[in-house]
Amino acid sequence: MKRIALIFLIAGTHTIQAQEGLLENIQIHGNVDVYAQTYKPDSIISAPVVPQKSGMNSFANFIATKGSFSAGVRIESYMPPVQGFNPNYGLQPVGVPYRYARYAQDRLDITVGNYYEQFGSGMILRSYEERALGLDNALDGVRLKYEPVDGVYIKALIGNQRFYWQKSTGYVRGIDAEWAMNEFIERLESSKLRLRIGGSFVSKYEDSKVTNLELPLNVASWAGRAHINYEGFGLLGEYVYKFNDPNADNHYIYRPGQGVLISATYSRKGFGINLTAKSIDNMHYRSNRDAQLNDLFINYLPALSKQHTYNLITTLYPYATQPAGEIGFQGDIIYKIKKGTALGGKYGTTIQGNVSVINNLDTHRISTTSELDQEVYLAHDPKRQGYKANLWTFGDKIYYRDYNIEIDRKFTKDFKLKTTYAYLEANIDVTQGTALGKNVYAHIAVLDGLYKLGKKHSIRTELQHMWTEQHLGNWAFAMIEYGYSPHWFITILNQYNYGNPIKALQVNYPTAQIAYINKANRISLAYGRQRAGIFCVGGVCRPVPAANGFTLAVTSSF
């Protein structure tokens, strides 16, 4: 607890400059985050009994820099982990899972210790942290970045990944090179044609385990990418290939993995369009072949669905990327109608449309799951390929459909309204692991209004409704938020599952919250019910259990 107290003491200060000896001109900065909940049983929403009656996740980053050197530590504390976060975090109440030293000078950048890194879009390697998901696969080892000549960027790394308070047993090694044409060729520096080409190679080493199978100890993957721009046009393509990687996710098949991502954009003033296509086959790539959930992923597969912000769409039927196999495309279009026109009104109107279409990959099984689980020689599949698939062919199973439109218009200088309509079709048996046996079809409408009442006062309201005949039935949502600028916000909201086919579960989920913001500090306290569901960021999701109680959140940076 002394260490925790120290964190808060330091958090209260701002930049610290030591004045003597070696410490002269060292700059220290960082941030602190505390997220705590209290729990009381609530049988109506199935909120469980939590013996500790509370949970807290907190961390503090401290980064010291002096000239070309920098070093940092992150202290984390879980007492115990907030419900919904992996209980493995509770194996050590307080500790330092992240520390590093870095030196960067003369085109060379060396990091020893923990670091985050991404090659290309991340389909081959992405080490990152997503606090809201409880996800942290930081690498611990050595990373070199080098720019031998202008426009050529090379990264090389080795390390093992964070696994809560432990490290992965497998090592990750990788190298990435990128060539930026316009930096490499001086006379093309200001050319309208911009080109970047890159390639990566990643390999993991993991010792074998006792099994009938001959497991590859080194599993490699490679990727190539190109990004070209010409004035408002842009085209990005990336392909990744993974060699035989039998693991628990794929029932230990030796089929190689593949992924392709293609994105085309065009934009000019007031108009933008983006088309993205993606196909993934057998691309679970982890540093431990038996890892599950979100643990120890070496790669990250970018989401192909819109990251909504409104409560009902975001938390009821979000899409979770399926590394085992999926194919789809997404289209985004944004158009701003000029202000002063009949359609645009006095302040202009922005219209955004978005379509996401995601199916399973067209696969043809060679072996059944039960056959593969036996780890025996299969005469009809001696190389344990599991199935056949075409990376470019849609399967007949719909995973996700999202057709939505958003109109944002400022009517007066004090009133702004955003209207959203979305139609979803979600295969939650695949994305949430339910056993519904059918897809959910839902219509969602949202009205989001902001009223300014003088210089300091504002009121924001959200009215949302979801119509669906499947799963939990209809939902209504209402929120009102009063803002007293610049420090205070008070929010009251309620979700009501009035359409639940089980009358006893037609429940209200009310919450009240007060928040105080002062420069880099934010403190909020809420009380209410939290609905069970899943929470996703960028296609990566975690389950959220039902809860009833207080929630305290404190963030600060210095």
Binding site: A177, F201, S203, L215, P216, N218, P246, Y254
Partner: protein, 309 residues
């Protein structure tokens, strides 16, 4: 640019060593095929060899062994002159049989059974080709177990011809072409009372396989690297038929023994290995071992007979 190339070369080397490609994730088990649609062959028990013990000569050679063809020819001549008393098997094992990535060779004749027989006698081998004769040690031949070249092996082989045996063997194999299947029968008769365990090993041999062989006698101008790509390999081991029992074979006679003139019958279905090029060239060799000393007590062979389906 030099720096870039140097880094890319280092990267390429890294890429080469950082991946394991597994072609065969799990070993195929030995499958005993039960086929009831065709019958096992009958053995002419009245005409089997009950008089003497035939001689098993197991030869260790290799496609890269340039001195081997000369010696093998002498072994074949010895066999021809003493027909049908000598039964030969060629194991391609050892340094001259490992073709690796050598572009001059494409025929890997090594086998699991050959590996298992070759490994424990490696210390005894003076060179290649070497032979074992009935898997016996010969006190009159400097207590040798393996014999290098014809000048060493001729004597123990000829001495072994015509020796009495306590067991007689009959072997027959029917070839069912549509199923690439052999139906094999081995019948054994105790010509004298046997009071201890005997084991049976049955091997699949392919005769007259045309493939490359290095031969020191060849003219380099006609045969580059002195390799004859049309060499006829004789008595080539392809597989152990009763591999499910391991290299020590099946128990043919259990520890309670077998009375004089009693018969024991052994049958098995066998899928012809993919390595066999011509099924009609298959010879089934069966031999009986005394497990107490590992010596061969009797050996017999039979060519396969294609049956009507």
């Amino acid at each position: 640019m030099k720096k870039v190339f140097a880094i890319l070369i280092i990267g390429a080397v890294f890429c080469q060593v950082a991946c394991d490609k597994v072609e065969d994730p799990i070993e195929a088990p030995t499958i005993t095929v039960v086929d009831s649609t065709t019958v096992f062959p009958e053995i002419d028990t009245l005409n089997i060899n009950i008089a003497t013990q035939k001689v098993l000569v197991e030869e260790f050679t290799g496609v890269k062994c340039q001195g081997c063809p000369t010696q093998t020819e002498k072994l074949l001549a010895l066999q021809e002159n003493n027909k049908p008393e000598i039964i030969a098997i060629a194991y391609h094992e050892g340094v001259f049989a490992e073709i690796g990535s050598d572009p001059d060779y494409e025929s890997d004749f090594t086998t699991d059974y050959g590996d298992a027989v070759h490994a424990p006698i490696l210390g005894d081998l003076e060179g290649y080709p070497s032979v074992m004769v009935n898997r016996k040690t010969f006190p009159d031949e400097a207590n040798k177990y393996t014999f290098l070249a014809s000048n060493q092996w001729e004597s123990p082989i000829t001495k072994s011809i015509g020796q009495p045996s306590t067991i007689a063997l009959g072997v027959a194999a029917n070839y069912v072409e549509s199923k690439a299947l052999l139906k094999i029968r081995v019948s054994a008769k105790a010509t004298a009372a046997i009071s201890s365990e005997r084991k049976l090993i049955v091997l699949c041999i392919e005769d007259s396989v045309v493939a490359e062989q290095k031969d020191q006698r060849l003219d380099q101008d006609v045969y580059p690297h002195r390799i004859n790509h049309e060499y006829v390999h004789r008595h080539l081991l392809r597989a152990q038929v009763n591999s499910s029992s391991g290299i020590t074979g099946d128990v043919l006679i259990d520890a309670s023994g077998l009375a004089k003139d009693e018969w024991i019958d052994w049958t098995q279905d066998f899928i012809i290995p993919e390595t066999v090029e011509h099924a009609k060239h298959i010879i089934i060799v069966a031999f009986v071992l005394d497990p107490s000393n590992g010596e061969v007590q009797q050996v017999e062979e039979a060519h396969v007979v294609k049956v009507a389906e």
